[in-house]
C-alpha cells in the first residue's frame, strides 16, 4: 500500500515537473520579443554575425522540438547554456543552489522554531493578552509584502535567512495556532489536563499524534513558501542564489535557464509536499 502510494507520488512528480517545464518553455516562446536579441543591435557586428545569432535561436522556434531535444540532452547531464549569461545551466545551478538551500533551510528552521515556540506557549498559557499579542505580530507581518521585508532586512543588516523566516512565519503561525488550539480543546486532552498530567507528556502523547500529520503537511507547504520568499530576498539583498538567477532569467527571457529553474523549483516543491504526505500517511497508519 505504501509502495503504491510512493510510486503514485513519484509518477505525479515526474509528470508535473515535465509539464511545468513545457509550460514555462511555451510561455517564453510565445512571449513578445522572444526572437529579438540585444546583441543583434550591436553596430560592430556584420550581417554574417547577426545571421549567426539568428541561426543560434532558430532551433528554439518549434517549442516541442526544442523541449524534446532539451530533455534528451538533460538525460546525459547537459542542461544547455544560458542565453543571457553565456554559461552552462548545470554549472550555474550548481554554483547557486547551495546558497539558496542554506537560506531556505535556515529560514524554515528559524520560522518553525518561532512558530512552535509561540503557538505552544499560547496553547499552554491560555492567556488572552499573550495570544492576542502573538496574533497581532503575525497578522502585521502577514500584511507586509515579502519584497518590503527583504528591503527592510537590507536596511537593518538582517541576514537573508531571517528575512525568509519573517516572510513565512505568519502563514505558518496562523494554521499551527489553530491546529494546536483545536487539538488542545479535544475532550480527552482536556481530561488529561484536568487530571494533572504534565504539559510535555500531554504534548507528545496526545497532541502530537492528533495534530502531527497536518503539521507535517503544513511543513511541506512552507517549503514552497520559502522558495517563493527566496526570490525577493535574493534579488533585493544581492545574494547570488537560484532565486536571483530566476529573477535575472525572467527579465532576460533566458529560455534554457528559466525552463531548468522551473523544473527544479517544481521538483523541490512536489518532493516536499509528497514527502510530507507519505510521512503523514505512515504516521496516521501507526496511530490508527
Amino acid at each position: 500500500m505504501l509502495r503504491r502510494k510512493i510510486a503514485r507520488h513519484g509518477l505525479a512528480i515526474v509528470a508535473t515537473a515535465l509539464l511545468g517545464g513545457l509550460l514555462s518553455a511555451t510561455l517564453v516562446r510565445l512571449a513578445p520579443g522572444f526572437d529579438t536579441d540585444e546583441a543583434q543591435l550591436d553596430p560592430h557586428l556584420n550581417s554574417a554575425s547577426v545571421q549567426a545569432l539568428r541561426q543560434a535561436r532558430a532551433d528554439q522556434h518549434n517549442i516541442f522540438q526544442f523541449y524534446f531535444h532539451s530533455l534528451q540532452r538533460a538525460m546525459h547531464g547537459d542542461l544547455g547554456t544560458s542565453l543571457s549569461l553565456g554559461q552552462p545551466v548545470g554549472a550555474l545551478l550548481r554554483d547557486r543552489l547551495p546558497l539558496t538551500l542554506r537560506l531556505v533551510g535556515l529560514g524554515l528552521l528559524l520560522s518553525w522554531a518561532a512558530v512552535m515556540a509561540l503557538a505552544l506557549s499560547a496553547a499552554w498559557l491560555r492567556a488572552f493578552a499573550y495570544d492576542t499579542l502573538a496574533t497581532v505580530i503575525s497578522g502585521t507581518l502577514l500584511c507586509i509584502p515579502a519584497a518590503v521585508l527583504a528591503l527592510l532586512s537590507v536596511l537593518w543588516n538582517v541576514p537573508g535567512a531571517l528575512a525568509i523566516a519573517l516572510i513565512i512565519f505568519p502563514r505558518d503561525y496562523r494554521y499551527t495556532r489553530n491546529l494546536l488550539a483545536k487539538a488542545y480543546s479535544l475532550p480527552h486532552i482536556v481530561t488529561a489536563r484536568a487530571k494533572g498530567l504534565g504539559e510535555l507528556r500531554i504534548l507528545f502523547w496526545h497532541v502530537v499524534p492528533v495534530a502531527g500529520p497536518q503539521l507535517l503537511a503544513l511543513a511541506g507547504v512552507s517549503v514552497s513558501l520559502a522558495i517563493g520568499a527566496a526570490i525577493p530576498v535574493e534579488a533585493l539583498c544581492g545574494l547570488a542564489g537560484v532565486g536571483q538567477l530566476a529573477w535575472q532569467a525572467a527579465l532576460a527571457r533566458d529560455l534554457p535557464l528559466l525552463m531548468n529553474i522551473t523544473v527544479l523549483v517544481t521538483l523541490v516543491t512536489l518532493l516536499a509536499n509528497s514527502g510530507a504526505d507519505v510521512i503523514g500517511s505512515v504516521w496516521r497508519g501507526q496511530h490508527a
Partner: protein, 269 residues
C-alpha cells in the same frame, strides 16, 4: 470583536473615499514635477515631501491608492469568475474533466506564487504605456490567481452533482448549461463571495511585490508597489520616515481587509 470589524470597515471606506477624491485633494496630479523642490522634506506645500524628481508624494500616494484599491477587486473578480468556470464546471462534469482540470491546477499550485508571477510578467512586454502596464499587471493577477479557489469549487460542485435537488431537476428534464447556471452556480455563491474578498488583499500584496521588483505598474502612474520602490534608496529608517507612509497605508488597508474577512473567533484571539 464587532467593534474592530466596524473600525476596519470605516477605515476601508475612508481610504477608498479619500483616494476617490484625489482629483480635488491633489489637483496638480501625480505627474507634475516641482523641479525647484526635488527630494524635499514635508512642508505646507507638499505634505509628504517630494520624490527625487520633484513629484508631490501626497498626490502620488492618493492616486496610487486609487489604482491599487480599484483594480485589485477587478483582478479578484476575474480570478473568481475563472475559478467558477474551471473549478465549478470540472466538478459538475466530473470524471476525466475534473481530473484534467485538477492536474492543471496542481501544476500551477506546484510553483511558488511569486515565482509564477515574475515568470509570466517577464514574458509580457515591459516597455509599454503606463495604462497598459496597469492592465497587464492586474489582468495577470486575475488570470493566475484562480487555482486554489478552483480546487475548492471543484469539490463543492462535485458534491452538488449528486445532490437530491440536482437529480430532481435532471429528472424533470433540465440539462446541460441550464442545470449548471440555475441549480449549481447559485449554490457555489458563498464560496465565490469568500474567494472574491480573500483575493483582494492577496492581489494588493502581490502588486506591491511586483512593483518593488520593477515588474508592476510603469512610471509615471503610481501604485503602492511603485511607491514602495522608493524604500530601496533609503540608508536608514529614521532618515526620511515620511517615505514609509505608503507602507503604513498598505499595512492598515490589508489589516482592515483581514479583520473584515476573519471569523469572529479569530478576531477575538
Amino acid at each position: 470583536m464587532i467593534f474592530w470589524r466596524r473600525v476596519a470597515c470605516v477605515v476601508l471606506l475612508v481610504v477608498v473615499g479619500v483616494s476617490l477624491a484625489a482629483n480635488w485633494l491633489a489637483p496638480a496630479g501625480y505627474a507634475k514635477q516641482y523641479r525647484e523642490a526635488a527630494d524635499a522634506p514635508p512642508s505646507h506645500a507638499h505634505w509628504l515631501g517630494t520624490d527625487e524628481i520633484g513629484r508631490d508624494r501626497f498626490a502620488r500616494v492618493l492616486y496610487g491608492t486609487r489604482i491599487s484599491l480599484l483594480l485589485a477587486p477587478g483582478a479578484a473578480l476575474l480570478s473568481t469568475l475563472m475559478a467558477a468556470l474551471i473549478g465549478g464546471l470540472a466538478g459538475y462534469l466530473g470524471g476525466a474533466w475534473a481530473r484534467a482540470a485538477m492536474a492543471v491546477t496542481d501544476l500551477f499550485l506546484s510553483l511558488p506564487w511569486l515565482f509564477l508571477l515574475i515568470t509570466v510578467r517577464a514574458m509580457m512586454p515591459l516597455n509599454v504605456s503606463p495604462l497598459v502596464s496597469v492592465l497587464v499587471t492586474f489582468t495577470m493577477l486575475g488570470l493566475l490567481g484562480w487555482t486554489s479557489a478552483a480546487r475548492v469549487l471543484c469539490a463543492t460542485a462535485g458534491s452538488l452533482r449528486d445532490a437530491d435537488f440536482v437529480r430532481q431537476a435532471r429528472a424533470s428534464g433540465i440539462r446541460g448549461a441550464r442545470l449548471f447556471w440555475i441549480h449549481v452556480v447559485p449554490n457555489l455563491k458563498p464560496v465565490l463571495y469568500a474567494q472574491f474578498w480573500i483575493s483582494i488583499p492577496a492581489f494588493i500584496l502581490s502588486e506591491a511585490n511586483l512593483g518593488i521588483l520593477g515588474l508592476g505598474v510603469a512610471e509615471p502612474l503610481p501604485s503602492w508597489g511603485s511607491l514602495l520602490k522608493e524604500l530601496e534608496g533609503l540608508v536608514s529608517v529614521g532618515e526620511e520616515p515620511w517615505k514609509f507612509v505608503p507602507l503604513i497605508l498598505l499595512v492598515v488597508v490589508v489589516t482592515s481587509f483581514q479583520l473584515v474577512l476573519s471569523k469572529p473567533d479569530e478576531v477575538a484571539a
